[in-house]
């Protein structure tokens, strides 16, 4: 009996193949009448082995015409299409495009009673304009790989593994001698996986693949019972599949309890961020609202969170305190944000991690993007040089210098000597010499600078006048090498060398000039040892000479009240060598179905602390205890070295008998605990709830006055709270989330003092984001935030410091009062026009749409007898254009 072939519509069309102007998908075939066992074993319809992508007619794409072309194809005994005709067409050139592509299809011929026979079949060729426009999708966004094993745990060699991607792409692989297979995916979402082997039952399952996932899977097949049919249809769903055997499944690299990942559309369209990826991070639960771009994660100081670009530590993440990030969004593959209990591959941080992943340049064709708004302009270009060599480059420059220069030109309070400007660049060259290797050379750089003369001395600090300048920048070259030893063993090596520079001048009273020749190296080896154990081991190091010239008062530590009459003057010019190697080992264990344990340990050495060695054991788990429900938790120890000015043993020129810092400091330490759950309500809607507690000790606290130990490990802290994230991942029309954090962060600066509120503590943080595609290229989004006011320290009185001629406040109980709550609505409207060779996106973003006067601080008069509230930015519209070619 000949199997009847009908045409199914793919589940979704979300993305297109890289470098393709069209997105065409072929539907998998579905048997409507299951064949009898014997027939199924001896007869088979033609099976597509080579799919050809149709070119999307530009006019049809511009008009948004999409749908399916139903074709009838004749396939000969060699699998070639001999005839093709349109049964139901779409017009607009799509019928011809579908025919042209289908005529180049290659099939495995149909069989009847074991003999190859010609066949006639119908195919529905779907054109998705949406997917075609998403042709800029990253080349490789995730990996799905694993091992197929039999009931005896022996690898199944020659099994056919088929993956049907969310956009209908179909990939097929044959397991090797170790039973291994691998797919590099350019789209993410729900991937349907079908496993077939001659002597085993077929198996089908749906895997939820997220951006940058590296799924390590083990499928265990059971033998075919006698006289049972083989359900070979690849789009049989798991629920339909009566023969599927339970498998051991392991997701990589969910080594951490919580990892939040932003998808590209969320980044581009998120209201209030100007399409800037790293600013979007501030909308996740656990991140406090900040007016100056500081990342305050789960009640910890900004310097307790580290930012990496593909494993390389970068000194800043935002230009000028949050205007935009220092890496082009166009070059981002993903941003992983770990608010706590993170993997042992990260160290030297006691709070959180932001890991920015750069994407591979496209390997076909060229693409260029220009983005212009009221603050800055950027260009981005990428393309393939040869088949194996591709590049990408981006440059951005602000023009707030022009705007501010015009505004300040008539103001006699300041004389501008160097207008505020920032710029950054990224350049990338990627070479794939073979299927096992990928090498990438990347140059990253950023610079922020300005200098002004304050002509009007401030009444509170009149000596703070004269030239006021600031500059911060970095220039780094990075070499990345991914190597695949086998399907079970991979490695990544990342080395970087660059210079970080910070200079800051405040007249004659304050000056800082820092230069750090930073070398970083990281090597990680990942091996799937067996079906239940995966090991990741790695080494990483940061080091290099740092030269600093500093003149000013000793920087205060968090929460310290600066007493102008009791500051310590520091002056130094010293060179020190940073040397901080580390090593880690991590095991991903799957002791039972749905349970994943990740014990790990990290060892770090720091030459600039008395406790040079730190050993950090960590453990996290995720347990899929019911389908769609995951229990998660973790505990771990985290060490963070002192800042170099705190541990510097360089002499203080101002007070020759003293030193700049205290070289006998210990590393700061934190213990993280977290427990929560996740639930997938649907393919798009997920819920995550998590409680956390952090205990901090050996925190570094500045000591006022002259002392041989200007910094001591006397501080402790405790932070506890809960986070909720209800998220709707991007669908065809909508994305958004509701994030809520409740927390309390406290510090105790000396063993004798009471706990006080942390300087940036925010009890309640509510963020709601929604973005809707309205059709015809229109998209609208909202962001609403409701956040507790920042803590403030009341003024109890003042006294005249007759040495300086100004009044000094007498502070009350530190952080014992708060600003009024902050609430703000940001609105974003996008209109996109699609043309034959590109698209144009016009967006209007209105910050603080209802012009709320949010209190950000308190302003006092000269002797602290009068005060008034300082408010944040008023309503601020930002208009921008993004053009893509």
């Amino acid at each position: 009996m000949r199997a009847r072939i009908c045409l199914a519509t793919p589940l979704a069309a979300a993305a297109a193949l890289v470098g393709s102007a069209a997105s065409a998908q072929i539907a998998p075939t579905t048997p409507q009448d299951p064949p009898p066992p014997q027939a199924a074993q001896q007869s088979a319809p033609p099976r597509l082995t080579q799919f050809i992508q149709a070119e999307y007619p530009p006019d049809a794409l511009a008009q948004g015409v999409e749908g399916s072309v139903l074709l009838q194809l004749s396939v000969d005994v060699e699998g070639h299409v001999t005839e093709a005709e349109v049964v139901t067409g779409l017009g607009h050139g799509l019928d011809e495009a579908a025919l042209a592509a289908a005529r180049r299809f290659v099939f495995e011929p149909a069989r009847r009673d074991g003999e190859v026979v010609p066949a006639v079949l119908r195919y529905r060729y779907r054109f998705s304009a949406t997917a075609a426009r998403a042709a800029q999708a990253p080349a490789v966004r995730a990996a799905l790989r694993g091992t197929v094993r039999g009931s005896s745990d022996a690898p199944v060699v020659g099994a056919t593994v088929t993956a049907v991607l969310p956009d209908g792409q179909r990939r097929e692989a044959t397991t090797d001698a170790e039973g291994a297979f691998r797919f590099d995916l350019d789209v993410v979402g729900n991937v349907r996986v079908f496993v077939r082997a001659e002597t085993s039952r077929a198996y089908a399952v749906t895997e939820a693949v997220r951006n940058r996932d590296d799924l390590g899977l083990t499928y265990r097949l059971s033998p075919i019972p006698v006289a049972r049919p083989v359900a070979a249809a690849p789009d049989t769903t798991p629920d339909d599949d009566p023969t599927g055997e339970a498998t051991v499944r392991a997701r990589r690299p969910a080594r951490e309890v919580t990892r939040q990942t932003l998808e590209f559309r969320e980044i581009l369209r998120m209201p209030g961020t100007g399409g800037d990826a790293l600013r979007a991070v501030q909308n996740f639960p656990g991140v406090a609202r900040s007016i100056n771009g500081l990342l305050i994660v789960r009640g910890s100081s900004p310097q307790d969170t580290q930012i990496f670009a593909d494993g390389t530590l970068i000194p800043i993440v935002y230009h000028f305190g949050g205007l935009s990030s220092v890496i082009s969004t166009e070059l981002l593959d993903h941003i992983d944000f770990y608010p706590g209990t993170f993997s042992a591959r990260y160290g030297r941080a006691q709070s959180g991690i932001v890991d920015v992943g750069l994407r591979a340049p496209r390997r076909q064709g060229w693409r260029a993007v220009a983005n212009i708004n009221l603050i800055d302009a950027s260009v981005f270009v990428e393309g393939a040089i040869t088949r194996d060599l591709s590049f990408a480059a981006s440059f951005r420059r602000s023009y707030i210098d022009a705007i501010l220069g015009a505004v300040l030109s008539g103001v006699d309070a300041v004389t501008i000597t160097s207008l505020p400007v920032y710029w950054d660049y990224q350049a990338m060259l990627e070479w794939r010499p073979g299927t096992r290797d990928r090498l990438r050379l990347t140059m990253l750089g950023s610079d922020d600078s300005f200098a002004i003369i304050l002509n009007r001395p401030n009444e509170m600090a009149p000596r703070f006048s004269g030239t006021f300048s600031s500059g911060i920048g970095f220039h780094t070259g990075q070499l990345l090498w991914d190597h695949t030893f086998s399907s079970a063993v991979t490695s990544r090596a990342v080395f970087s060398l660059g210079r970080n520079a910070i200079n800051f001048g405040g007249g004659e009273a304050f000056g800082l000039d820092l230069s750090f020749l930073q070398f970083t190296g990281r090597y990680e080896l990942s091996a799937q040892l067996n079906a239940r154990v995966r090991a990741n081991v790695g080494l990483d190091i940061i080091g290099g000479p740092a030269t600093v010239a500093f003149n000013g008062i000793r920087p205060p530590t968090e929460g310290q009240q600066v007493d102008p009459g009791n500051v310590t003057r520091v002056s130094t010019n010293a060179t020190d060598t940073v040397y901080r190697p580390g090593a880690y080992a991590e095991f991903e264990l799957t002791p039972a179905r749905g349970l994943r344990l990740v014990p790990s340990v990290r060892v770090d050495y720091t030459r600039d602390a008395r406790r040079s060695w730190s050993i950090n054991p960590r453990l996290s788990f995720r347990w899929d205890f019911i389908d769609g429900w995951t229990l998660k938790g973790g505990v771990g120890l985290f060490n963070q070295p002192p800042q170099n000015n705190q541990s510097s043993g360089a002499p203080n020129s101002f007070l020759p008998s003293t030193r700049v810092g205290n070289p006998n400091l210990l590393t700061q330490r934190a213990v993280h605990y977290s427990l929560g759950f996740e639930h997938n309500f649907s393919r798009f809607v997920t819920l995550s709830m998590e409680g956390f507690y952090k205990h901090l000790d050996d925190q570094i606290v500045s000591q006022p006055g002259i002392t041989a130990e200007p910094y001591l490990n006397r501080g402790v802290g405790r932070i506890y709270g809960g986070e909720i994230l209800l998220r709707h991942r991007p669908s065809e029309r909508f994305f958004g989330w509701l994030a809520y954090t409740i927390s309390r962060s406290e510090r105790r600066d000396t063993p004798m003092s009471d706990y006080r509120i942390f300087q940036f503590d925010q009890t309640h943080i509510l963020t709601a984001i929604a973005s809707v595609r309205l059709g015809r290229g229109w998209e609208a989004g909202l962001r609403f935030r409701l956040v507790s006011g920042n803590p403030t320290t009341p003024v109890a009185g003042s006294l005249l410091n007759a040495d300086s001629g100004t009044y000094t406040q007498i502070p009350g109980v530190p952080f014992s009062s708060r600003n009024a709550p902050f609430h703000q609505l940001d609105v974003r409207i996008d209109k996109t026009w699609t043309f034959r060779r590109g698209s144009l996106n016009l967006y209007l973003e209105v910050l603080n749409a209802y012009n709320n006067s949010n209190p950000e601080g308190v302003q006092y008069n000269y002797n602290y007898t009068q005060s008034q509230t300082v408010t944040g930015i008023p309503i601020f519209p930002n208009l921008g254009i993004r053009a893509e070619y």
Binding site: Q303, I316, T467, F468, E508, D563, P704, A802, N861, Q868
Partner: protein
Amino acid sequence: MARVNRTALTLLAAAALSVGCGDDLDPAWKIKTFRVFGVRVENTTRAADPRAVEAAPGETVRLTVSYLDPAATPRDVRVVWVMCAQARRMGATVGCDPAGASVLMGGAEQSYTVPSIAYGLDPFGRARITAIGVVCAGGAVAVDPATRLPSCTGAGAEGVTLTRSILVRASEADAMGHNPEITDAVLYRGGNTNDAVTLAADGSARVPRCTTDPCTEHVIELRAPAESRETYRTFDNAGATVMRPERVLYGYFTTGGELDLTFYVDTAERPLGPVRNKWSAPRTPGTVTFIFSAQDTRGGYDWIQRTVTIE
């Protein structure tokens, strides 16, 4: 120093750029109540060096408070000083160890002999005596015997609590610091340098009241001898030892009219420029009193008081 405290720098920058922008707050130049502007310290032992501000143990200094009481009937001013040879700081407040502390009570001008004891170094590397004082208008002064903190009491009394340092010379090899000096204040009517009047303490200088909108802006220039500003040894922002002119802070305060600035600082970019400030006269006739002050970073202070008749 691969990583410095960027948070502190950011906050410092933000604070520096944001404070002082409150339009609804009284500016410091406006004298509405009893005000104290500074304290001049002079070493009276060294008669040959009349502007010397530092004193060695055993030498005597004179402390003179610069104040103005705008009340219709000027009140008696009493001053109490607690001289802390070994000051103890607790946060932003200052206390005294009983040893080495002494109390002075009197008027705006008092003398004190620097004791011969072993001095510690302050956060700037100097030995100093911290004087904690209260300047009290229309009331009585006292010192709490337990805390040794001074106070001002009495109905209707106004007091200002203040601190002042007396730098103790450890070695005669060190360069002596001196008080700056203001010799004159010259008013250019309408900003016209050809229409100048030197202000006097007796109100003999006359200025028309404001009758226009906006008011005519006059310019007040402070004059000082060249030696008023000293050069001293310090560190530059690269940590190197340099000889640098003092940074002198000039203050303008008035009981009437509108000043443009409270302070004027001569900066490295404007080291020798004239010390000028804009002032517009009040709309009503009467007298206006000015306090002009000069303060360096090494303990030096000077002031003059001038009165202008508004016609």
